[in-house]
């Protein structure tokens, strides 16, 4: 049997989505971003929305998301992606408009934009990568950093008297009338990846409905093994044991 005998359409078991290009990603090994990028590319491709998708990349590790998924993108100022998505969707209502944001971007500097875009019921999708740390700037405390968790700006562990509590912003979003679909997923196992993909697909389908019914919000509880200073395997373990307690997986709202 030669190589050519094997490389045949009917033998194909896995294929990278064509929208995800061949550029080498800058993400650390073990990072969740790459998996979520792939899921987004897959769903856009499966829904045939290559011509309709406009993504907003954040300030944070995913600042270069536009380098990896071959659709039109706008690069936001820190925290402003939901305001930008609002404008684009209002001006171009038949497009798929989504933001891709980290915890600092979405839940600290961009809290107002996040809450108001969702509260206005914008027909957009917010993909929220929550790894409880600022990865790009070198591992500082995030609004979602857990109590006791060590970062470079809380080197002795997050102290609530000094820094307050971890912010479960997704729970806040779920309270808003304007938010239609609010879910929390992860991508640390094959099963989790499948569920996360279903969630992203549902959110994108919502956003393509012609009638404005509200925002779709998908949190992906993620690891940052370099920021957490753990091996990818340990990071996954730490996430399931600690992060999932503060950020339980599942749908918070599905209208």
């Amino acid at each position: 049997m030669t190589k050519e005998d094997i490389i045949k359409e009917e033998n194909l078991v896995y294929k990278k989505p064509t929208l995800l290009n061949d550029k080498t990603m800058h993400y650390c090994p073990g990072c969740s971003h790459g998996v979520v990028h792939k899921l987004i590319a897959e769903v856009i491709e499966e829904m045939g929305l290559q011509d309709k998708a406009i993504g907003i990349s954040p300030v944070g590790c995913a600042v270069f998301a536009y380098k990896y998924i071959d659709i039109d993108w706008q690069e936001a100022a820190h925290g402003r992606a939901p305001a930008m998505a609002t404008a684009i969707k209002r001006l171009l209502p038949d497009r798929l408009v989504f933001t891709y944001q980290g915890d600092g971007d979405l839940a600290a500097i961009g809290t107002a934009e996040t809450i108001h875009a969702c509260n206005r019921g914008e027909n957009i999708v917010v993909i929220f990568i929550n790894n409880a740390i600022y990865g790009m700037t070198g591992g500082q405390m995030a609004p979602t950093t857990l109590e006791g968790m060590k970062t470079s700006t809380c080197p002795y562990g997050r102290d609530v008297t000094l820094n307050g509590y971890h912010l479960p912003i997704t729970n806040l979003i779920a309270q808003l009338e304007g938010a239609r679909y609010v879910t929390r997923q992860s991508v640390h196992t094959a099963a989790a990846v499948r569920n996360a993909k279903k969630a992203i697909r549902k959110a994108f389908e919502n956003a393509m409905e012609p009638v404005k019914k509200g925002a779709s919000f998908v949190e992906i509880v993620s690891t940052c093994n370099s920021g957490w200073k753990m091996s990818p395997e340990d990071a996954n373990k730490w996430m399931t044991e600690n992060m999932f307690k503060a950020y339980p997986i599942g749908d918070l709202k599905n209208n």
Binding site: Y66, Q74, A77, A83, R90, L91, R95
Partner: protein, 360 residues
Amino acid sequence: MSEEVRLMKGNEALAEAAIRCGCDGYFGYPITPQSEVMETLMKLKPWETTGMVVLQAESEVASINMVYAGAGCGKRIMTSTSSPGFSLMQEGVSYIAGADIPALVVNVMRGGPGLGTIQPSQADYFQTVKGGGHGDYKQITLAPNSVQEMADFVGLGFDLAFKYNILCVILADGLIGQMMEKVVLPPYQPRRTEEEIRKQCPWATLGRTPDRDINVITSLELEPEPMERRNIALQAKYALIEKNEVRYDEFMTDDAEYLIMAFGSAARICQKAVEVSRKQGIKVGLLRPITLFPFPYNRIKEHLSHIKGILSVEYNAGQMVEDIRLAVEGKVKVEHFGRTGGIVPTPGEVVDALKNQIIK
């Protein structure tokens, strides 16, 4: 009646003109003394007629980023605000400059610093003309001096913005925003179709079509060399604008021995001051910059052969006067006269200042 003559506030005229100029979207946040702009738009409901989007944002920070995003789609997008709001917008203003995209921002200035006063001021000259946000950038700045110009500069502002892919600022003041005058509104111009936008703005993020590569609106460039190349290109664009787009207006300057320079509503007061001075036998003329960037440096230089001094009249502590001095290079006397805190000088005060500070 072929043309529509109306009695309107500057703010209202600006809003009407926006709809008529084929504006695609307005994103704003209320602030005195310009809230009539959004109020007028909301009352007129242009989304039911031209399809223009109007949205009240949660802050000026959000509204300028909505402008940035809409502009990134090649749309004709604007916002309006007043001084404290314009300060908040500086983030988005800098991003718009860095991403090379066209948009229109209106600042109906009030007195500062800080929360200041809601009364008229021109104290945001430096902020607008010298760049209030971070980075090396410029923006075309138009200074209207009448309700008519408030209406006319919307279309002009969009045209200039799209000619150069740059932010255009209409720098008005509370007096122009709040006063009512006769205005002839521009004729209706349809919004561009998406096909027209794709042609005019091939960089626009409207969704990738199979015939082109992806479009990305960004100002990010981590490598120093490409970043410097971007900056050099920006500076070349600004130089071209300085060459092509200087606009000014003059009143009784031909035989003038003295010049008064003023922009916006201050120029109206100064025109009266010129009329009064002329009656007293003083040969004075008015040079009013319409564009503050690009500034009419050369026009000032041309006057130096026949004038003895220039009085810069501004509702601030002396800002444009620095640009006049740059043009004059010490050759004649240049002084500033201004009131601050929302106080607008009267024509009589200007005449006195001309006598006391320049003629003596």
